[in-house]
């Protein structure tokens, strides 16, 4: 038992000593790793299937829902003004809960608290559409998440999760996305794992998907047990990733292979 603990400690330390935060000048969006064809898909709105979800979200914004019979627009008016820059600050600290919530979590809190409607399921078309529509209002704006001092312990926890080796492959996020992001795994670019364009359209999924979906796929990839949708761990990871990408422009809805 003692030996096992020592080995775990050693591997953890090895991970820590290698990893260093990528300086701003070297931060690269997943976009820069893509082929010209895939970039072209993101560059033009009419060619970007993610825009279909943004259109759906725009329609949902003005649709009344729940016992309160209120639409998002009834409180927030024109999203082009009220939601501008909002997604750049998420996940954000939610005082009532004493913990951070991501954009999807915020939308569902609005549903339950203000619309008196049932929350949307994770990865449902409605939740993806609304979060894409809201995040698209911040397109081109620099990511500024994690600045709230109340978030500090949660950023730190997300960072710890990012560094922590786990799963049958015994890998932490950092071992790929800090240490060897300029290399390839099979034929694919490893990338830095910068969450600049979520929710985004993955060619693999043939659909829009959230950062939580991507994280769960990554965790499964290292043969570890994925955290549940909406779990504090996933939100903390999202928060750390967004604070790690500070200053990079939002691309929602991005396209990725």
């Amino acid at each position: 038992m003692k030996i096992a603990v020592c080995i775990a400690l050693l591997t953890a330390m090895a991970g820590t000593s290698l990893a260093a935060e990528i300086p701003l000048s070297e931060r690269r969006s997943g976009y820069s790793f893509m082929s010209p064809d895939t970039r072209a898909m993101q560059d033009e709105d009419t060619a970007n299937p993610g825009m279909l979800f943004v259109l759906d979200g725009e329609a949902l914004w003005t649709r009344k829902a729940g016992g309160a019979d209120k639409a998002c627009a009834d409180c927030h008016n024109d999203a082009r003004i009220s939601m501008k820059g909002v997604a750049a600050h998420y996940p954000a600290f939610e005082k009532a809960l004493g913990r951070p919530v991501d954009l999807e979590g915020r939308i569902n809190l609005c549903r339950t608290n203000h619309q008196q409607a049932s929350p949307f399921a994770y990865e449902s078309r409605e939740l993806l559409a609304l979060s894409a529509f809201v995040a698209q209002q911040s397109r081109g704006m620099p990511i500024a998440a994690g600045d709230d001092p109340e978030l500090a312990p949660f950023v730190e926890r997300g960072h710890a999760l990012f560094m922590q080796r786990q799963g049958q492959l015994n890998l932490g996020c950092t071992n790929c996305h800090d240490d060897v992001w300029d290399k390839k795994l099979a034929g694919s670019a490893i990338t830095q794992g910068q969450p600049t364009g979520y929710p985004l359209y993955r060619l693999e999924w043939q659909s829009l998907g959230s950062l939580q979906r991507r994280l769960r796929a990554c965790i499964t990839g290292i043969r570890a047990q994925a955290y549940d949708y909406g779990s504090p761990e996933l939100v903390e990871l999202e928060l750390y990733l967004m604070s790690r990408a500070r200053g990079m422009p939002i691309e929602t809805p991005a396209v990725r292979p």
Binding site: T46, A47, P49, F53, A59
Partner: protein, 106 residues
Amino acid sequence: MPSALINVPAKAKRGSVIEIKTLMSHIMETGYRHTASGDVVPRDIITSFTCRFNGTEVFRADLYPAIAANPFITFFTTVTESGKFEFEWIGDRGFSETAQASITVE
């Protein structure tokens, strides 16, 4: 109603050739996938796309399961007069959607 994105220039010179781009929301389920319990997921695709200008067909396509989800189709047409493009997508399970776009000849 599923969303569609259409890109048609609002104005064009008479006799010029314009590009039209269309993107339609659709899962394009191939009919070749199975659930974990072995059941075939039934095919659900768009089978036909048509573009008409002032009532006359100017472009048509037959689609098969090998067309990617959220079908993206672009083509060209000659602008002869001001008018309306009508787009129609027809598919399995009674899928039928239309969209329109107007163009003014300068």
